[in-house]
Each structure stands twice: as structure tokens, then as C-alpha cells.
Amino acid sequence: MNIDEFLDEVCKYVKYKSVHMEIRSELREHIYENIHEWKMSEEEAVTSMGEPEEIGKAFNKNFHLPFNCRYGLCIWAAMVTVFIYLIYPVFAKLFNNTINTGHNNVVILSAISFIMFINVLFLKRGMLKLSFYDTINVTMGFLLGYVISVIVLMVFSKSGYYLYFSDVKIPIEFPYIPLLPINKIVFGLEFFSWWSCIVIYIISARGKEKTKEKTAEVFYVLVQYNNTGFLPVEKEKK
């Protein structure tokens, strides 16, 4: 087995793809030290590292997305979505003093901020630096969770209304989408609010991963502050 095959085999067992480069760098350097220091052949140096499966599985225990893959995120997203819809009128009442529809920007922004804050608070656990593949997993997880939660909510509603309380109905607003038939009810404005949260979160998380410097941290802090009114929960490590 050569170095690249060994590293591929180790990384095969590490689901969290963002850390693959770091693992590869560190193990590769170690193997090179063995080759140069002890004049080993590549194969001998790789063999001295041990079983790649054992190493990969041990790494996998340390590195993982919270809720451990898209299905866990799906369940989490569904719970958060249902919760948000249940407290949506609370925000409307706070800012408008009435139970209103989703037209009020302050209400929408507050809902977005709340979603963002909760997601970041939980998803920030562990070493969450999203790579392209992890981003897909996170996005698919949220989308699946959102769809499931809206279906669940609609099962308990009549004629496209979200039933909050016995006398409070929030109609599903139809957002204008060009070329789609106007009488088709898709999802509400909340759907786009929800997606904007995911997009903002992913951009800020990926920006943080790619640059790993103060500019990304500043961007991340600004996005969080502007969206949630809160500063990041954890202090950024240097």
C-alpha cells in the first residue's frame, strides 16, 4: 500500500469530510519522517502506521457533524420548523400587537433571527467547518426536515391554513414565482425566510472555513449580529 492509498483508506472511515485535508497532512508528514529518518521504504513506513481502518474509525469518533449526518439534521430541522411556526404569532403579537399574516418585515426578520440563533447555537458544537460535501448534507437535511414539518403542519390544518389556536388561522401565502400557475399554493413566505437562514449560515460557515482568518471571523460575527442581535456564543480560537 502506498501513502495515498493508505490515506484514502483512513479517510474512507471519516464521514466529516472537512477534516480530511488536515488528517492527510499530519499523517503524510509522519510517514515522510519515517522514510527520511529511518531510511524506510514507503511501504514499510506506511505499515508502521498501523491499520488504516482502525485509525480512520478512531478519527471518526472525534470528528462529526452534530446529529451525525443528514437524517439527524432532518429531524432537528423538522423540530425547529414546527416550533417556529408555533411561536410565529407570538412574534407577530410582540411587534404588531395583533396576530397578523406574514407580511410584516419585522416579524419575518425576528423569526429568521430566532431560527438562525437556534441553529447556530446547536450546529456550532464540535469543529463545524463545512466543506462542499458537508454543505450538501446540511442543506439536504434542512430541506427534508422543512418539507416533513410543513406536511405535518398541513395535515392538521384546513384548506391551506396553519392552525395556531382555535380561532387563529395564518393563510399560506403564495410567493410570486414566475412561470408557475398563480393558483398553485406552494409554501408560504416562511419558506423563503427559512432558506435565507440556511444560505446565510452556509455562506458564513464556508467563508470561515476557507479563509480561517480575521476577515472571515469578522464576516461571521457581522452576519450573526445583524441577523440575531447576538454575538457568537463561543469565542473564536486562534
Partner: protein, 113 residues
Amino acid sequence: MKIDKELMKGSTAVLILKLLEREDMYGYMIVQKLRVCSDEIFDMKEGTLYPMLHNLEKAGVIESYWCDSDEGRRRKYYKMNSKGKEMLKRKQEEWNIFSKAMDSILGDGLNEH
């Protein structure tokens, strides 16, 4: 003599901390030091050290940084922080109590009771 894997499992973390107490080290250096200082008793599969190091880093007892060596290679160094020092002190005390108890039973301790 090969030491049982299970026996090594619980001990390696504290050995790593002890080595890092003296100076910052990179992974390869830690493996060599363990081997040399223990007269080859602690001769582990080298790749298995790194998940342990990451585990300790995740626990917040050590920190890492990349550094360019004189030979032009990039090495990831690990260093112990204050939380690591506390953990090491605690683990050393635990070990002293444990080893004393083991010696007392494995030695002639049983006959005296």
C-alpha cells in the same frame, strides 16, 4: 514483551500529557520519545497516536499549531495548556493510588490480610 492493548488504552493519554509537560512536540517525536523512554515497552502503532492527540485537543487539554521545520517540512506541534496540567496532576495522583493498590495485592499484600 507486548503489553495488552486494553492496558495501554487508558494510559496513553497521560503519557502524552507527561511528555508535553516538558516541551512542545509533534506526533512523530512523541512516538519516538515514548518508545525510547520506556525501553521499547510502549511501542504503539504510530498512526493510532493521532486520533488520541485530536481527542485530547477536543477535550481542551492540549493545543496545536503548525510550524515549519529547518528541513523545510511542516509539522503540527502540540502543547499542553493549564487545563492539561490540572488533568495530568489528577491522573498522576490516580495512578499513584492505583499502582500502590495493585502492588499491594500482586505482591505479598494478600498474605498480610
